[in-house]
């Protein structure tokens, strides 16, 4: 057994686990957060994508022990108090999902992209999601959803400093 202590979506989890445990299994079975999906279980499809210390990883291809002492963000961290994040809203409005199985992974990859590149080109969006597989949408609607989210997040960012200057 190995002792793991990791923070998932702001909550600390400590457990003795079989060192074989994959991060995805720890998230789903120990933390009971089942939004992250197991698609291929070999690091190809990206349905299990989570953010580990600020970087996207495929949770099915990482030992849980690699999250020891680190911080994990899963799909469950996006909505706040039951309200969808702007990125989730844009996926909803642009029909960026059909069956929904891959969606958690796409949202985490999109979140990572927009955190590092607030104004991605279409080519950059497609590049950023090429580690995620969707068998329903044909990707076009996902690209549109991410582009809409980039626009929305940017306009929200622009509003904030303005209102701050008014207040000052």
């Amino acid at each position: 057994m190995a002792r793991i202590s990791t923070k998932i979506n702001g909550k600390q989890y400590t457990a003795d686990i079989d060192p074989r445990t994959l991060l995805l299994d720890f998230i789903r079975d120990n933390a009971n957060l089942t939004g992250s999906k197991r698609g291929c279980n070999e690091g190809k499809c990206g349905a299990c994508t989570v953010i580990l210390d600020g970087l996207t990883v495929k949770a099915c291809n990482l030992l849980a022990m690699r999250a020891h002492g680190k911080e994990v963000l899963t799909i469950e961290s996006l909505a706040v108090d039951g309200h969808l994040s702007p990125l989730q809203e844009c996926f909803h409005e642009n029909h960026s999902l059909q069956c929904g199985f891959c969606t958690a992974g796409f949202l985490m990859s999109a979140k990572y992209l927009l955190a590092n590149n607030p104004s991605p080109s279409e080519a950059e969006i497609r590049d950023a999601i090429h580690g995620n597989v969707c068998r329903c949408t044909g990707y076009q609607k996902i690209v549109e959803g991410i582009r809409a989210a980039a626009d929305r997040l940017r306009s929200q960012q622009e509003e904030k400093p303005q209102s701050a200057s008014v207040g000052a």
Binding site: V57, R66, H130, G131
Partner: protein, 291 residues
């Protein structure tokens, strides 16, 4: 995946001691993007797994006193891409990093792990061989340096002894006016290469003073092509001369056929095309100054 005992050494000495103790029953875990899949399939079933993730020194890269670029074996692709250490002359490395898998895997995968995995369809081994980098291995017996051209010994095989740990990869200091490039053909972006080519060209007054070419995925380890650089050697480089070199590579390289990706003849044409593209790009980069 079969069960294993997990170790997480906090110093290289401690890791070396563990590997000396367990030998072939142990495997070193770097990024794990290949090894974990092999363990899931039980192609690899180590009894002991020595995770190097706490070894901070192996996570650093810098130019050393000899002007070589030292890359710690645990440095991730993503770290290399954002480090600013890859000068223009190392363009082949930057090219390879662009086409390895995807963001999620580049955030975890390491140069050292990729070299030790020695997958014939991997990208970085070709580049490491093209530069003839030096790989530094550590064991209880001390440190030794292995030339990249002697490191890859076959399908998933390297010159490392079971108890040895790859600690650093040294890319050589490159002469002025050196350019390099990596070209790969795959069905989808980020897939394993069907054929790939890594080229390095050094110019001296417009003439080629040094060149190397490696073809990847053709055989069980990176293939150093001898004929094509000889075509360029000492000559004024032109597009026509590069085409001639590519034709020579086509004649020399005999890729292994496989049922999925195609016949040897098909891959030979890829060798010609990718040799031409990689040499041309390396040549253009060398003209732009390289370093």
């Amino acid at each position: 995946m079969r069960s294993f005992e997990y170790f997480r050494p906090t110093s290289l000495d401690e890791a070396v001691t563990l590997m000396a103790k367990f030998g072939p029953k142990a495997r070193v875990l770097a990024g794990g993007q290949s090894l974990l899949n092999m363990m899931k399939l039980r192609i690899a079933s180590p009894e002991y797994l020595v995770d190097l993730c706490e070894l901070g020194d192996l996570r650093t890269a810098q130019v050393d006193s000899k002007g070589r670029l030292r890359i710690g074996a645990m440095v991730t692709y993503r770290q290399m891409q954002t480090s600013g250490l890859l000068s223009a002359a190392y363009g082949a490395v930057s090219d390879a990093l662009e086409v390895i898998a995807d963001d999620q895997i580049r955030n975890v995968g390491t140069l050292g792990g990729s070299c030790c995995q020695a997958d014939p369809h991997g990208d970085t081994p070709n580049v490491v061989v093209a530069f003839n980098a030096e790989l530094e291995a550590v064991s209880g017996k001390g440190r030794r340096t292995i030339a990249a051209r002697e490191f890859f010994t076959g399908l998933l095989q390297t010159a490392l002894a079971p108890e040895e740990i790859l600690a650093n990869i040294y890319l050589p200091k490159l002469p002025a006016s050196t350019g390099s490039a990596y070209e790969k053909f795959a069905w989808r972006k980020g897939d394993y290469a069907i054929i790939s080519a890594a080229a390095v060209v050094t110019l001296n007054g417009g003439k080629c003073s040094q060149a190397s070419l490696v073809i990847g995925s053709a055989q069980s380890s990176p293939l150093l092509v001898e004929s094509a650089p000889r075509v360029l050697d000492g000559k004024q480089v032109t597009a026509e001369l590069i085409q001639q070199a590519a034709n020579t590579a086509f004649d020399e390289v005999e890729p292994e056929a496989d049922a999925i990706y195609g016949s040897s003849e098909y891959k030979k044409e890829l060798v010609r095309t990718l040799t031409e593209r990689s040499l041309r790009k390396a040549w253009q980069r060398a003209q732009q100054g390289g370093n």
